[in-house]
Symmetry: C2
Subunit: 342 residues, 2 copies
């Protein structure tokens, strides 16, 4: 029986850190155990200038309180980013994140058209400069079909920009998994919660706002496909929590915001999940090595030792006025973080 497990240089390749007191609350919950995280740029207003980007990075470093933690910064996609601008910011970013306008939290200023000709200037410049493209791939169709309907757009981007690394963010469907093997320049992140839940968990019993997220959790066969790809550490698939803190009152009020907060439990639950499926030998690939290879990252050493010992998930995380409810609040997990070696 396995009783300890070591994760080396854990990476969260899709993370929302927000800003202000919320940043101060959530940043340490990731930086403490993870070696790095790809940080989403959808603040209000979004990060579209070098000045804003560097200032935000500085605030993250201050809030994260761990010199061994690297925030990998992203820029918010806009049409007509010039070659010169992208060249000047290239060394400060890991990629550029594209949101269709209005598709999720703070995406109002995203692109209003996915027409390749409209996007071409920026994409060609990114391609020339080897800047990866991270995409929130959903149409504005019927909620269960939004990702599936986006597949032809992924395909068209992959074909038209063969030298562009394209990351399908937080994939939720069997269709997206299938696409990974079809185009050499398509990659993906998958969240913890989409490995665990389906729409049943959100709306099958009582309605659970804390499991409401975008993209919405899909069907059992979709979760199965995602889980299988993660457990075998498909080399083009990376862990990205999409951990998205929303203030408690915005989750529980009438008309709740989309996002699941998983940062403080992700490692423990992943070890439990991979152990259950006899796939622990693949976990370091899924949570670190794949992303290192795909993005070409250099990281400081940081080993996390997990042990099989009950961990009771806090009911709430708070800092000043900010209160966030994590996934599995109050539940007991089988694994705990024992120690972290840097």
């Amino acid at each position: 029986m396995v009783n300890t497990f070591i994760i080396n240089q854990a990476l969260d390749m899709h993370l929302h850190l927000r800003d202000g007191d919320m940043l101060k609350l959530v940043a340490p919950l990731t930086s403490n155990s993870f070696s790095g995280a790809l940080v989403m740029p959808n603040l209000v207003p979004p990060i579209t200038t070098k000045e804003d980007l560097l200032a935000y990075k500085q605030r993250i470093i201050q809030a994260s309180k761990d010199d061994n933690f690297i925030p990998f910064m992203t820029l918010f996609f806009q049409n007509n980013y010039t070659f010169e601008f992208l060249q000047s910011i290239k060394d400060e970013i890991i990629g550029i994140k594209l949101y269709p306008a209005g598709i999720t939290t703070n995406s109002q200023t995203g692109v209003s058209s996915m027409d390749i000709e409209v996007l071409r200037t920026t994409l060609e410049n990114m391609s020339k400069l080897n800047i990866p493209l991270c995409i929130h791939g959903e149409t504005n169709g019927f909620v269960m079909d939004r990702e599936k309907e986006f597949m032809p757009i992924y395909e068209s981007l992959a074909i038209n920009f063969p030298n562009l690394k394209i990351i399908m963010e937080h994939i939720t469907t069997k269709d997206a998994i299938n696409l990974l093997d079809k185009y050499p320049n398509l990659y993906a992140t998958v969240t913890l919660h989409h490995l665990l839940i389906t729409l049943d968990d959100v709306a099958g019993g009582m309605l659970d706002p804390h499991l409401f997220c975008k993209p919405i959790a899909k069907r059992p066969e979709d979760r199965e496909a995602l889980l299988n790809a993660a457990l075998k550490a498909h080399p083009k698939l990376m862990f990205g929590s999409d951990s998205a803190p929303h203030p408690k009152h915005k989750k529980e009020c009438c008309g709740c915001a989309a996002g699941v907060f998983t940062s403080p439990i992700a490692l423990q639950v992943l070890v439990e999940l991979f152990e259950k499926h006899n796939a622990l030998e693949n976990l370091n690939d899924f949570i670190s090595n794949n992303a290192q290879k795909i993005y070409g990252l250099n990281l400081n050493k940081k080993s996390i030792k997990l042990i099989k010992k009950d961990f009771i998930v806090p009911n709430i995380y708070e800092y000043k006025e900010e209160k966030v409810i994590p996934m599995y609040a109050g539940k007991t997990l089988l694994w705990s973080i024992d120690s972290i070696e840097k």
Copy 2:
């Protein structure tokens, strides 16, 4: 242009009236305009004896404050109801409602198996006594498939009990509509909200607990099939609001209860919907005549005159400590109830 419309003897063939102060709050919101309603028996504990049934009927009559309103009572299905018991209660009920155990609000004591042999005693006695069977037809499968998965059970019941009138309650799928034409003894009710919303309205934007219901709203093509059948007043389809008041705090708390409260707006919205689709000439069939024929009802005269005049839906309905939020709270509807003639 149509500016007035008369509904005669409106019937709500699937209604939750609850008990106590909640009954006092919601009963008049139906009895005021409707001529009758089929009342669900899923109180806590459920209605399974003649004594409880008659006492509940009496409380409903008192709360409804309208001598022209008839509460059509139902019994909560149990295995092994004897012929003698059913014969003794036959004249007091319009049908018996079957719930699979745990499938929705207050259904814990429903049947734990849909095996026909287990259900046979009660069903044969009902069949001999011409007592209709009303069913909440959902399996405990994946939330979007629950009704579809129940179709073979409906078929098996229809075939095995050819003389039993079987009403598929609050249908939400194209599959259920298709089944109506396949068996002479299958009928259905459909709610107002399932003619209007899909899963998109519940979880496509922000999460809307007030539109969360069981069965959950399905796909656009399902709504289309339901709406088409209603607009042409399919003779085996009846209006049943499934209006289900839950206290405000149970809808907006974390983990909200399932049910949409539509009684006070149903007639106005139905007129608007049928007018929009040029189907007003079928509305009286859908909302009254079909049910009268299917159940063989005798009703007092009650005409409701609706006029095209803005109606602002109240934000809340309250009585003592009970507070309920209606569908379309605070919105403006195009039609109002002008007068009611008895």
